[in-house]
Amino acid sequence: MLVEATVGKVRLLCRAILAASLSTFVFASAAVALHAQADCLTCHGDASMTDAAGYSIAVDGTKFGASVHGSLQCSNCHADIKGYPHPDKVATVECATCHSDQADQLKGSVHADSKDHPCTSCHGNAHEIFPKTDARSAVYPLNVPKTCGQCHSTDGMAGKHGLASVYPNYIDSIHGFALSKEGLLVAANCQSCHGSHGILSHTNPKSPTYKANIPKTCGNCHAKIDADYEQGVHGKAIAKGNLSAPVCTDCHTAHAILQPTEAAFRMQSTPICGNCHKDKFSTYRDTFHSQLGSLGGYVETARCWDCHQAHDVRPASDPGSPINHANLVTTCGRCHSGANLSFVQYQPHANARDRKLNPGLYFVRLFMNLLLGSVLTFFLLHTILWLIRSRYSQVKNKGANGGKNA
């Protein structure tokens, strides 16, 4: 056994020396480091090598050589190992020794108290770290959602901390599809909005996901929409510090973002505005627009922003608003071809219960209700009395079975 193992190690050593000599020939400066790696790989190159607790302590020399740290000596990171044999227990590698900026950012972030190694949780196997521009990297844009999703998904670590499972929402969103289906490197991934090392809670005013910062965060890509939004009443309110005004995520949600022109979003959209604009939502629901709109399968009927604009929302008094009186023929005409000045007097938020605001409508409704109530009450009484009387006379004249023509 001992002989076999020794032969094996010698064979590995020879192979490493051969590789090192070849590399020396090509890459003279890396020779020392490779030589040192090869020393360690004599043992750790065995893929089945584990420590006393059963954890793998094997290193794939080829992958490590190709990784971003491939030119380093093992002892650059494993600084407490001076020679062979080394102690059973070795110190945890401190990435901060070199990556101090990132380590500082991490310390102030939501991930600061991570019990796992904070770097490898995201960057993956310490011996196989690639630059973020390399498709093999765990933090390559196309791989980021999966990396974060290890914790931020249904059964992930985040769930145990009471955080929402956002990965499934993201991956089915318009951003997720752009990334996973089209491979769009510019599509927003987790770190586009949350940052990477210095991720802050959305309750922290410095966080890019803090409510007041969201328009700018989304505006990093959606610049035109952001510019429109800043012009509108909601954008101005947020700029003034009124945080009850909606930002991008209030309507589009943060992770499950849907294509706003498609049926799914149009079907669920009006109650979002209705959360704040309760009276307008209530009167909208009385109209044909809403009745048609809520049935499904027909999404063309006007939703809030079809008339009010989605981002550049302005009051009706603003000449630039699509609901300014001067613009109504154009606005209504987008759906109702042939809309004229009389047609646009239609009130999309008329309230038939408000006598002062909509007297005509109020009295029409009152008349119709009285008509409905009186006709039904009269005939209901008439029918009930008739039923009782004719059954009575039927039984009386023809016995308990009644009879065809009592």
Binding site: S294, M368, L376
Partner: protein, 288 residues
């Protein structure tokens, strides 16, 4: 299974022999008009109610079932156009018979649909009878509640039809309607339609079909004929007038064939079923 095979033949013989004479109450055209009316009405109600109560659980399910709102609106408009044509044909018929041909009994007299003094007396007399305070009135061809049914449908078609077309062709109607009227037409359309649905599916059903005299269904609107006994009992005044004028022969009809009775039963019960289902759905949506 001899009983099942024999049963229809026996029943047919019974209808032929029993009671002897059958008298015509509705012409073929009137029966077809009623058939068109109730099929399109059921269609309009079935597609209109999901729009009126679009937030109720059954509305969305039904809409999804028939292909979404687009399909519902298409069917609604289709039924509306067919009903409009039927209404126009009826109007033309009334004008033709009453004004052009100067046929008697269209606008006044015992066979007219126009209410008269007897109807007022019948209403009070009938109510007294309900309360056991007087004898049962004797009715002519159309009793007062039938005239109400007719005029309710007539008025309903004008009101619901006009408001419906005003919504369908809103930009056109806006040329001569004020702006607020475009808001009002939806209120008018849906309230009047709700009245029609509640009235037809409860009061008309009971008054005409489900009351003990006709239970479970008055087949005369499907077959067109009524047995002499039933005719005499239900339309005593008309029967007496016919006998007095000696016009029995011209009113005689043939006993309805078995297939027509069975067909009418299937259609009639289906209509009752659909109507009562819609009534229950409407009431649940209205009171929830």
């Amino acid at each position: 299974m001899p009983e099942l095979e024999q049963a229809p033949a026996t029943a047919a013989d019974a209808t032929k022999n029993a009671n002897g004479n059958y008298f015509v109450r509705f012409t073929r055209e009137q029966r077809y008009m009623h058939a068109t009316l109730f099929t399109t009405f059921l269609g309009l109600a079935a597609t209109g109610l999901p729009m009126r109560f679009s937030e109720s659980f059954w509305a969305r399910k039904f809409a999804t079932g028939v292909g979404g709102f687009g399909a519902i609106l298409f069917l609604h408009k289709l039924c509306a156009v067919v009903l409009t044509i039927a209404f126009l044909i009826h109007l033309k018929d009334v004008v033709q018979r009453g004004i052009v041909n100067r046929e008697k009994g269209i606008f006044w007299g015992p066979t007219s649909m126009i209410p008269n003094w007897k109807d007022v007396k019948d209403l009070f007399g009938h109510t007294r009878w309900f309360l056991g305070l007087g004898p049962k009135p004797q009715f002519e061809r159309y009793a007062y509640w039938e005239k109400f049914d007719y005029w309710a449908v007539f008025w309903g078609m004008v009101v619901i039809g006009f408001s419906g077309y005003a919504m369908w062709f809103a930009p056109f109607f806006a040329h001569f309607l004020p702006g607020w009227a475009l808001n009002a037409v939806l209120v008018i359309h849906s309230e009047e339609a709700l009245l029609a649905v509640l009235f037809i599916f409860s009061i008309h059903f009971v008054n005409t079909h489900l009351r003990p005299d006709s239970f479970p269904m008055d087949m005369v609107i499907f077959t067109g004929v009524e047995s002499e006994e039933e005719f005499k009992h239900k339309r005593t005044k008309e029967y007496e007038r016919m006998v007095a004028q000696g016009k029995q022969r011209s009113r005689l009809g043939i006993a309805p064939p078995l297939w027509l009775i069975n067909f009418s039963k299937v259609v009639g019960y289906a209509a009752l079923f659909v109507g009562l289902t819609l009534l229950v759905l409407t009431l649940t949506a209205y009171f929830s």
